[in-house]
Every structure is written in C-alpha cells, then in structure tokens.
C-alpha cells in the first residue's frame, strides 16, 4: 500500500479523484522557452467522465503528459497534481510510476506505436499484471484472456499468441483498452483513442469505453480534437486554447447561454449532417498566439477579437 492511501480512503467520497491546480509546463527548446501549459485547473470526480477538447497545439496532450509525469526532462513543471488525495508531484519518481502505472490506464491514438510488433499480445498484456500485481506467468495469461474477452475480441484465449499486425485497427484498439484495464485502474484516459478509426468502428469503441466505465465505476478522461466525440459521452467538458482552459461546463450545457467565444467559433466551423450543399462555414480569423509568446495571457487580444466576430456572426444569422 502506498503511503497516504489510508487517509485518502477516509474522505475519498467528497474529494475528486484527480485535482490539478495552477499547472504550468515550460519546455526549453533551441527556439526559446515554449510555454505549453499556462496555468491549468482541473478536477475529475470519482466515476465521472471529463472531455478535453482543443485544436492541435492547444496543449491537451501535454496536459495529460504533465499530469502523469511523462514529460521530457527539459520540461519545467509547476503547480499541484493530487491523485486521490496524494500529492503526485512530491512523490519520489519510482513510487509515482508504480502508483500511476497501476491506478491509471491509458489508451493512445496509435496502437501500432504503443505495441511491440515482435512480441505476442499475450506476453505484452501480461507485463503490467506481472509487474504491478505480481502475478505468475499462468495467472497473468488467464487474466489477459479474460480481459480480451471483456473488450469483445473473439476467441480471446487463442488470440493471445497472435502479434499486433494480425489484428485489425479496431481490434488493436480493443487490445490497448484491455491492457489499460489490467490493474483495474481508477482512472482511464483515452487520448484521441478513436481518431484513426472508421466511424462505425469508432462508435463501437466509444460504446465499449462507456460500458466499461459504467460497469467498473471508473473515472474517465476523453481527449479529442473532435467536439462531437466528446459531446454525447461526457459529464463535463473543458476546452483548451493556447495552453489554457478557456471553457469548462457540464456537457449538456456546453452550448447553452453564451459560451466562450472560442467555443462558439469552433462550433460554427464544424460542418453538420444537415448543412445545405455549398454553404460557407464560418472561419475565425487569425491563429492562436505562438507557444513561445512569454506574456502571461497572450491570447487575450485574440479572444476579444473572436468575441466581436462571434457577435457579428450570430447577429447576421
């Protein structure tokens, strides 16, 4: 048992599973300091689903990496990250890895780069249970077969001896999900987990994640560039822009009232299934500020500009 876990269990009910305060990430590069996260606050309650949405470069992946301490050594982190009441950033590195490795499961976008192509699925799946749970070879294999079965891989026991290339894209992603579930995590993170998949397969995988989350009462974070993926499947959504969270709302109220101008602009740019042919999409002017901009809030002017633009757009509609 990790130190602090007993205390955490006592008031686990009223404290969020993950609590991030004022998280900053600055990375030294040859082009200067990159201000990747400019102060992020975030909470994920037990058993709830949080969606993180943003365009490329907004910092959504780096937010995850910073929380899980997967950043390169040139990165400077500040701010606090508490997981189940434990101050993650104050822990010694080895202890932190052991705890997060066991209690957080991650599914990335491209299973082919996360899986080892020359090791069978069964052996790769057993790694986590042997390391974190101390299972023997046989028990680890049985657990792997059971998990594959749960995520809907047909002939699970037989397929343990197959290699990653013998699985289709959707099946490979199911293998990744099974691996992420190995240690019965409290938090499952899906980082663009369905981006590379066809729409019908994407729906299957998102349905599967939702079912597993409900059955196991896990908390879940879905990270996506696609607002529509997050829209129907989360309790709360945060929208990132230029290293900051610019909007945070319960999902079913995301578009109610007057959301942040960036959210309104983003919504207007997404084509929908009933857009008439040859309609023009609303295109926001300008681009997010440079990641190297040292001002504390370089996006302020852009956002004011966006707000005026949104108002004009909504009046003309």
């Amino acid at each position: 048992m990790e130190p602090g876990e007993g205390i955490a269990a006592r008031d686990a009910a009223d404290r969020p599973l993950l609590e991030v305060r004022g998280l900053r990430c600055e990375i030294d590069t040859t082009a200067g300091t990159a201000y990747v996260l400019r102060g992020v606050d975030l909470e994920v309650p037990h058993g709830r689903t949080l969606g993180i949405v943003g365009e490329s470069g907004s910092g959504k992946s780096m937010l995850l990496k910073s929380v899980l301490d997967l950043v390169p050594s040139t990165a400077h982190l500040s701010g606090s990250v508490e997981f189940d009441g434990i101050d993650v950033r104050a822990m010694p590195a080895g202890q932190r890895r052991r705890m997060l490795g066991r209690r957080v499961g991650i599914v990335f976008q491209n299973p082919m780069t996360s899986l080892n192509p020359v090791v069978s699925i069964g052996v790769q799946m057993a790694e986590a249970s042997r390391f974190h749970l101390g299972l023997g070879r046989r028990a680890a294999r049985e657990l792997a077969a059971d998990l594959l079965d749960q995520v809907g891989v047909p002939n699970a026991a037989k397929r343990l001896d197959d290699y990653p290339h013998q699985f289709s894209g959707g099946m490979r992603q199911r293998v990744m999900i099974a691996m992420a579930l190995t240690c019965e995590p409290d938090l499952l993170v899906a980082d663009e987990a369905t981006t590379a998949l066809d729409v019908t397969i994407q729906k299957q995988i998102l349905d599967l994640l939702q079912r597993l989350q409900e059955e196991r009462r896990m908390a879940m974070i879905i990270v996506s560039h696609d607002l529509s993926i997050v829209a129907g499947r989360t309790d709360e959504v945060v929208v990132m822009y230029a290293g900051r969270i610019v909007e945070r709302r319960p999902t079913d109220e995301l578009f109610r009232g007057t959301p942040h101008p960036y959210v309104r602009a983003l919504r207007a740019a997404i084509p929908s299934l009933d857009t008439p042919a040859h309609a023009r999409l609303a295109t926001m002017r300008g681009a997010p500020p440079s990641v190297f901009d040292p001002r504390p809030d370089p996006a302020a002017a852009e956002i004011e500009d966006l707000a005026r633009w949104c108002s004009a757009l909504e009046e003309s509609a």
Binding site: E55, Q202, A277, H278
Partner: protein, 324 residues
C-alpha cells in the same frame, strides 16, 4: 481489356446522365497480392456533370481512393471505361495520356509529402505549366492568379519552401497547384482530413469559391460524412468495392435507402443530436435484399440504391409512412 469484355457493362446503369463531363462505367481494379487477388473496385459506375461536385464516402478499404486513382490511370484498371470530355482515358497511352492528365489534377491528404521539399513553393505551383511548355511570363502570370485565388500572394510566399508553411497553407497551395493548368475537374482525396476544424473550414470555403468562380467539377473523396455533405451536390456511398447508393446529397442523407448508408450515418458523432434526421427504417426480412452485389435501382427522384424489389417495397413503405 475494356468494359465491353465484361457482362456488367452490357446494361447501362440507370443513373448515368446525358451531357456528363466525366462518365466512369464498370470500372474494375484488382490487385494481385501474395494471399490472392484483391478486388478493390468492382464495377463502379458514376458520372459528373459540368460544375457538379460528387462526394464519394465510405470507410477505409471500401475502394474510394483506388477508384479515384484508377480514373486518372494512377492505379491499373482491368476493365471499364473512363470517358472525360469525350475521350476514353483507358485507351490513351504515352504523350496523349500525360497531356490529358494535366487537365485532371488531384489533391491529396498530405500536401507536404506531395511537394518536393527542396523546391520553392512558387515553382511547385507553376510546375505543371512549365512541363506543358508555357512561357516564363505565362507561368508567372498564372501562378500569381492562382495564388490570389487561394488567398495567398507571391510576396507572402516569397522564396519559401514547403516545410515553412502550416498544414492549412500547404493545402491551399496544393489547390493553387491543381488550379494552375485551368482544369475542368479536380479529384480531392481526403483533402481536409489532416486539418484542424477551423483550418478545415477555411480550406473548404476556398475550394467552394473557386469551384463557383471557375465552374469547376469536383470529385470529393472523404471518410467524413459531414464534410462531404457541405461540398457535394451528389453523393456516392461505397462499400466493399462497390457503390451501394448514389443520389442527390439531400436524398441520400435524409432518406438513406441502403442499410449500410444508414449504419454509416448513424455512427457519425454529432455535436447536437438534433442535426441527425429521423431516418426511415425499412424492415429487411432477408439480408440478401440489400447485398452489395445487387444492381442499383431507382428508389426516388435522383436517388438509387442496391436493393432487391422486396427491399424497395419495404423502403417505399417506410418513407411513405414517415412522411404521413
């Protein structure tokens, strides 16, 4: 080795129209692989009128990209005919083929990998004209013209090379390059798939403006059904190498007739569930009623799907009761 050899080409598909700019009839594309032949495109037939945009949608492996490549003879077609502006492209060889290809440019998903990284972007845009033997002045004038059409300029582009541009800028440069030889039709294969939504919107708008201004026809191949909806007049749905449904964008999206089309539309994630239409759901007792191998039959005005007569009845019942 042309369409007349196969029995499929004997009957003209009911949805082919007179006066089309491009008519693809019974296109077949088979690849030999170590595990046996793969029939990537199986008897695909469609046409594109002048100034019209045809969207081709389908999931990976359905043959949409191969079909697009085969009509430009970038993939080998074993059978079928591709008649563009009165010329059968499948019969062209050598110089004549190359000359015709210039008037049928293509825009790919990843422009960076289709640009020579060591050349200046202004030269890349004008390259087609240079190969066609245009004079230096002519190339300069036309390059300025097409750069302006995609919202860029010679001054802004300067001496820069492809890697110095963002993804959205690269895609606009790819459009400029495609426009340079003043084509009548451009094939766009996943042209906006790698872009952020705000950038995607800008590129789509540029494409639409250019289409309107120049009276261009487009073939827009994409896996993204919402994007296809915005740009297309007509839509063809491909599944396992065949077209299973084709028709006006309105008809295909509002009253999808083939179960595969319905499944596809149903799986598309939407920001707001309200934008998903109530689709008529006919009951198909027999799965074979809507197999991919059925011929396409007329199910409504400018709307065709691979359905059996029984399935067609069921569909008409469902649409009728939905409207009532």
């Amino acid at each position: 080795m042309t369409g007349s050899m196969t029995d499929g080409a004997a009957v003209r598909a009911p949805y082919l129209r007179e006066g089309a700019l491009l008519t693809v009839d019974g296109l077949e594309c088979t690849f030999r692989t170590p595990s046996g032949p793969v029939r990537a495109v199986r008897g695909v037939t469609f046409d594109v009128m002048p100034g019209e945009t045809l969207g081709i949608v389908g999931e990976s492996g359905c043959g949409k990209t191969t079909a697009g490549r085969a009509l430009l003879r970038l993939a080998p077609a074993q059978a079928g005919s591709v008649v563009f502006d009165g010329v059968d492209l499948t019969r062209l060889r050598g110089r004549a083929l190359r000359a015709t290809r210039r008037s049928l440019p293509m825009i790919f998903q990843d422009p960076l990998s289709s640009f020579n990284p060591r050349r200046r972007v202004v030269d890349i845009v004008g390259e087609g004209l240079a190969i066609a033997g245009a004079s230096r002045q002519e190339i300069r004038r036309r390059t300025d013209e097409v750069l302006e059409q995609v919202g860029m300029s010679r001054e802004a582009v300067g001496e820069r090379r492809p890697h110095e541009f963002s993804g959205g800028q690269c895609q606009r440069l790819a459009i400029a390059r495609a426009l340079a030889p003043a084509p009548k039709l451009i094939v766009c294969d996943e042209a906006v798939a790698s872009l952020d939504v705000s950038v995607q919107a800008r590129v789509l708008n540029v494409l639409q403006e250019i289409r309107e201004r120049n009276g261009l026809s487009l073939i827009f191949i994409s896996h993204d059904l919402a994007v296809v909806r915005v740009v297309s007049d007509r839509i063809a749905v491909m599944h396992r190498g065949r077209i299973v449904e084709i028709g006006s964008a309105e008809a295909v999206y509002r009253t999808p007739a083939h179960p595969y089309t319905r499944r596809l539309l149903d799986a598309v994630p939407v920001v707001d569930e309200a934008e998903r239409h109530d689709m008529p759901a006919p009951e198909f007792v027999d799965e074979d009623w809507a197999s991919v191998d059925r011929d396409l039959v007329e199910v409504g005005p400018d709307h065709f799907a691979a359905l059996s007569p029984e399935a067609l009845d069921a569909f008409r019942d469902a649409v009728g009761s939905g409207a009532a």
